[in-house]
């Protein structure tokens, strides 16, 4: 008998056995040990790739299959039954194995259900809590009421990552690559001007996409160097304010900038 064996598809010897039992349509409560053992060995032999630390586990199982098989071959003599000790030995040698297989199968099924739940969870999205700064009292009271552990922190981080994946480049590929620092400097100046000569740092970064952020930032640095704008911060945590230094900046002067 030959067939394709993909061993990395199995989660260990128990998984492999369950697979065989299913494929051979064996009654799990009455396993023909000889057949199963042969099949198991066939598969083990066909393994091309095996994990170093799992190899031993497959081996141990192989050994116990052989042990069970040979136990079942032991001749049963009449009269032996009167001996109590032997009675205990007469328990079906497969019993423990069957118990393990059934127990393992339960969790394998449960894992499948979890997978379905995981899949279903991708069908809906939550939103970040709103920015309630406007409602916030100046002094904030206790931020954490319950005792926290590091897993709360990791949880918070994961939530953020889930949310973050909804940040596709929304302003779809409008060829913004051609954006030059020079052009952006002009643009920045006009934004500040439209805000009446000074605006928040954030107003200058309305887009999420990286190239624009970088170019805008570079243009700000360039404008600061040329003392066309000034950046101010009143206090820690305060917003940065960008001011036009010289109200009468000339577009022409920007034209002279070398890129």
């Amino acid at each position: 008998m030959s067939y394709e064996v993909k061993l990395d598809a199995f989660e260990g010897p128990l998984d492999l056995l369950l697979h065989l039992i299913h494929r051979l349509e064996i009654d799990i409560y009455d396993i023909p040990m000889a057949d199963l053992t042969i099949q198991y060995m066939e598969h083990i032999r066909a393994m091309q790739v095996l994990e170093l630390n799992e190899a031993s586990e497959y081996l141990v199982m192989a050994a116990s299959l052989l042990a069970i098989k040979s136990k079942m071959l032991l001749p049963i003599h009449e009269g032996d039954f009167e001996d109590d000790e032997l009675m205990i030995d007469m328990n079906d040698p497969r019993e423990e194995l069957v118990g393990r297989l059934i127990e393992y199968r339960k969790y394998k099924d449960a894992a499948e259900k979890l997978q379905q739940l995981e899949e279903q969870r991708t069908q809906f999205f939550t939103r970040a809590p709103s920015d309630l700064t406007d409602y916030q009292p100046t002094l904030q009271l206790a931020a954490f009421e319950e005792p926290l552990n590091v897993y709360d922190m990791i949880g918070a981080f994961q939530k953020m990552m889930r949310r973050k994946q909804l940040k596709a480049p929304l302003s779809t590929k409008i060829a913004r690559q051609e954006l030059s620092v020079k052009d952006q400097m002009k643009h920045v100046c006009s934004i500040i001007k439209s805000h009446g000569g000074s605006c928040s740092f954030y107003d200058l970064f309305p887009f999420e996409d990286k190239p624009t952020l970088v170019v805008t930032f570079l243009s700000l640095l360039e404008l600061m160097k040329r003392q066309i704008i000034m950046v101010e911060q009143q206090q820690n945590f305060d917003e940065l304010t960008v001011k036009l230094q010289n109200e009468r900046w000339e577009e022409e002067s920007l034209e002279l900038i070398d890129e």
Partner: protein, 195 residues
């Protein structure tokens, strides 16, 4: 009633993925538990019945939260840049299932059940914030006991650990059936031989 529903919608809207418990909603709206329950039920009915609404109500990880309507999943997925969350591997799912149903549980117990070493999936699950150390086992080793986290509930859209689908069979019955079967077989063999 309408006003209460409106208030609740506002509250749940601003609290986003943190959500609020029924108790918190009661306190914030000065409504009775009964009124809140009623308003929540009516809100969800509204959401589901109205073709215009794009949101729904869900109990997630112990709080009520607004979520986007499942029918619109495809539309929202167009917003998804690069999925940051990979689905879990088979090994991780198995270990997670065992931890979820048998918590608190040690690594050795998990490995006994699976028949394979399980350090790596345990590590992965910890890193993803799905399981955590919940204590130490009695005895010499003082082995780490694992349990699931709130993030676990979030990822699998559960409100509570008891919302997990029941295990196929309970262990006890299983063992009983099994021994019964073996006993019958054994007795059969036995009596045949006696004859």
């Amino acid at each position: 009633m309408n006003l209460l529903m409106s208030k609740i919608e506002s509250l749940l809207f601003v609290t986003g993925d943190e959500g609020l418990s029924a108790k918190q909603i009661e306190n914030l709206t000065d409504a009775t538990p009964w009124e809140v329950k009623d308003a929540l039920t009516k809100l969800q009915e509204d959401y589901v019945n109205s073709k215009v609404r794009g949101i729904e109500l869900k109990e997630l990880a112990g709080t009520y939260q607004l979520i986007s309507k499942k029918q619109n999943a495809e539309t929202i997925q167009r917003l998804v840049d690069n999925p940051t969350t990979q689905p879990l591997s088979q090994a991780s799912l198995e270990v997670l299932a065992i931890v979820a149903y048998k918590q608190p549980i040690t690594r050795i117990e998990i490995e006994d059940l699976r028949g394979v070493k399980s350090e790596r999936p345990l590590h992965t699950l910890s890193l993803k914030g799905l399981i955590q150390e919940v204590g130490r086992a009695e005895g010499t080793g003082r082995a780490i006991l694992y349990g699931t986290t709130k993030e676990f509930l979030n990822v699998f859209a559960l409100n509570d650990i008891h919302e997990l689908p029941p295990l196929p069979e309970t262990e006890v019955n299983d063992e009983e059936d099994q021994t019964d079967l073996f006993m019958t077989k054994f007795q059969e063999t036995f009596s045949e031989q006696k004859v």
